[in-house]
Symmetry: C2
Subunit: 85 residues, 2 copies
């Protein structure tokens, strides 16, 4: 069995997001004033082959140790089975 | 009615992703050799207030003109209704 994992990394609410603020301004200048706030996070996609053990625990470990800075970021992930290649 | 929109931006398959390649190597060094490929994209979240017209068309326009470089990136988005603040 192979898997595709999507990790969603977002800045914590309390953290200022200059990139998002710039996007918000640019969108409002386009005339779309209904767009009130934009925040920019990361979408990290992992291709996983046959794995021994708990994939969910593995992904969580990778997030905590490598992909996510928990001081300023939150994360969640989805695991999807895909046909092995 | 208010909305939360999530835009998922990913590099096209044909485009090299150095950041993803670096993450793949780092993960494999951690011993997780089942992780075969990592690709890093963006998750852009927009807060939308009451809007006249077609929100989906608005978001599509914003993606094409501002958020996404269609030469090298693909995108999709989800619109979710939320309680107005």
């Amino acid at each position: 069995m192979a898997y595709k994992v999507k990790v969603f990394v977002t800045l914590k609410e309390s953290v200022i997001d200059p990139q998002g603020a710039a996007a918000t301004k640019a969108i409002q200048k386009m005339g779309y004033t209904s767009i009130k706030e934009v925040r920019v996070g990361k979408l990290i996609e992992l291709q996983v082959e046959e794995i021994d053990g708990d994939l969910s625990a593995t992904i969580d470990d990778i997030c905590k140790k490598l992909l996510v800075n928990q001081e300023v970021e939150d994360y969640s992930f989805e695991i999807e089975e895909v046909a092995a290649q």
